[in-house]
């Protein structure tokens, strides 16, 4: 038995070391980060990996390129506002965009389960094509594998993407400085609740649609307009809280967020109240946080809102010179520390 386990039986406290992989290792919380830190980082150690960015950015000949990958195992395959296909394209496009790159080419790897209806595959492929057109990227290479019935959930998709960095900005969590404004690109939590509702048969007055969308066009507007972007991070698994914590851990500064400025749609809030979830930790697929110097904040918000569709970008906080942490100014005017959750958000007993 590992030394960490010896204490566990005496204390009603969750395990933080598991001898086998748990679902929570993919949940975007502390367990997943430990898996990355304990296994992948030491094994593959290199300067690019250690940057801990959404993708790797490197020079090849005269070009500065960004490279990223992501896998998609969402259930159900189709949900209000998107499907596994649009998610697979937008997810990788957004990871590249967060590196400040213009996404160019994607690969797609399909793992198909024996017996999957080809009509479904066709719909997914068409959705990928549409998402790629919207984002202005091409799917240029791919791979197909079929696994035995029961060995996969109809379809898993992996995409990887390459983009080009066409500016001199050093966009990175390390570039975040005290005094920077923290801008949130829109309301949070919709994707998480849309998936949950589709999976659990939750019904609302009108369906909550995922926020799944490409972010590269907004990012290129910001760059073209000369906004001095210090850092960007899209809010995926683990939500706004995990994104802020990750950035704070790398830059070493405190991020102060004002709960009043975090937009959460009424129906998403309602679902959170019923299920006992905190919107700060819910998944998103078309939202990001942006760190810019205070003087650029107003203009950046303007630019974002001119292209944001139904999102409403707003300044939600600031970076201070206090040591790394996330401080939330609560609705009632008090403050609390925001912590990363251990594995995944679980519906609570009461």
């Amino acid at each position: 038995m590992k030394p960490e386990m010896q204490f566990a039986p005496v204390c009603p406290i969750p395990f933080n070391e598991y001898p086998s992989i748990q679902m929570a290792h993919g949940g975007g919380g502390r367990l997943m980060h430990r898996l990355i830190e304990d296994f992948f980082v030491p094994a593959f150690q290199n300067p690019l990996l250690l940057e801990r960015h959404d993708g790797a950015v490197f020079d090849v000949a005269n070009a500065r390129l960004a490279f990223s990958t992501d896998s998609y195992v969402v259930k159900p395959l189709f949900f209000p506002g998107g499907d596994i296909g649009s998610l697979a394209v937008n997810g990788t496009v957004n990871d590249l965009a967060m590196c400040g790159a213009r996404p160019l080419y994607l690969s797609a790897g399909f793992i198909l389960e024996e017996g999957m209806e080809t009509e479904k595959l066709w719909r997914i492929v068409q959705s990928m094509k549409k998402a790629a057109d919207e984002a202005g990227v091409y799917l240029v290479t791919g791979d197909t594998k079929v696994v035995d019935k029961g060995k996969g959930d109809e379809i898993y998709i992996n995409t990887a993407g390459v983009g080009v960095v066409e500016h001199e900005l050093a966009i990175h969590p390390k570039a975040v400085k005290p005094g920077d404004a923290v801008i949130l690109s829109g309301d949070i939590g919709r994707h998480g609740i849309a998936i949950m509702a589709a999976r659990e048969g939750l019904e609302f007055e009108s369906a909550i649609e995922s926020d799944c969308a490409p972010l590269n066009l907004i990012v290129s507007d910001l760059i073209n307009e000369g906004i001095d972007i210090h850092c960007m991070r899209d809010l995926t698994r683990g939500g706004l809280a995990s994104a802020l914590i990750e950035i704070s851990e790398v830059c070493g500064h405190q991020i102060v967020i004002d709960e009043v400025s975090i937009a959460v749609r009424e129906d998403v809030r309602g679902a959170c109240e019923i299920l006992g979830f905190d919107p700060m930790y819910l998944a998103n697929e078309g939202r990001f946080v942006l760190f810019v110097p205070e003087v650029h904040a107003e203009r950046a918000v303007e630019i974002m809102n001119s292209r944001a569709g139904d999102a409403a970008a707003a300044t939600a906080g600031t970076v201070t010179d206090a040591p790394q942490s996330i401080l939330l100014k609560s609705l009632i005017g008090s403050t609390r520390i925001v912590d990363m959750f251990s594995g995944e958000q679980l519906p609570r007993i009461c």
Partner: protein, 370 residues
Amino acid sequence: MKYVDEYRDREAAEYFRDAIHKIVTRPWTLMEVCGGQTHSIVKYGIDEMLPGEVELVHGPGCPVCVTPLELIDKAITIASRPDVIFCSFGDMLRVPGSDKDLFMVKSEGGDVRIVYSPLDAVKIAQESPDKEVVFFAVGFETTAPANAMAVHQAKELGVNNFSILVSHVLVPPAIEAVMSSPQCRVQAFLAAGHVCTVMGYNEYLPLAEKYKVPIVVTGFEPLDILQGIYMTVKQLEEGRHEVENQYARSVRREGNPAAQDLVSRVFRVVPRKWRGVGEIPASGLGLTGEYAAYDAETKFSVGNIAVNEPEECISGLVLQGIKKPNECPAFGTRCTPSTRLARRWFRMRAPARRTIATGAMPHGRPEVLR
């Protein structure tokens, strides 16, 4: 959001904050009984708003924290059986037993499912006649009616492949246990609003009288808690020890008689073990003879599993407010906020109305979003 935003209003919160500061003249130690209240206190930073004289101690009203090791081991034994679908509220899955938790059982191939209502588990049992479906019936008086209803419904419908692993505990004996400890520091209680919604608050009157402690039935929104603290401090300052009801929009003195009737038909009062505290007489619920066939402990012969809580564990003292979590030898080393070891401070919980309110959701897990 209606009926929510009103109770999170900043100006009103500041009004109560100022009112508390104004009346307090000396140190007082209050215990909020319910984990849902602890959640709100941490989430909204309520403790940060209070004067230094007012100390909040987080009480034993969290079913996840007080369920004994032994019962978790029984759950794990049952959930590991290939013929069982084991259903539970989500946050019980990561509570560790002697050497594993229910997540590990799932990763080893056990069919462990999160449900939002015990009635969902009955539905699963109807849909899976070749399996035994077991619901992990934990909780205080708040969840007891829904769990009683599940058993009652299973019996009415003749669903014989359904059973519950009962770990029900009761609030008044816990308050009694806290107060009767010679080291007790608690001078007043915020009673759990949802427990009292079911049970009313008549049973707290003798406790307030016997131990000379103010007890204020309190809700879960920030304004509820601030007002509850205000009412409690006011009583203490004025030398009173009464039972008052802050949560009048939900709690009636007599509670919910229909729910109580069902609970007393399906359950009877039994002694229960509490994690870190040990056995407290007449502190929990077990199934009555009429419903004995739905008792998973008997059905799967796990009644003989007995595990003693090791002596060095201080969680019982923490639950009683005698020690703070940072007095645990693991605190800050093996036990940090990021590993959730400091859960008494950092755990995320919410009001109890929901488990009863949501009866319409089938099983499922929320983990894969991408």
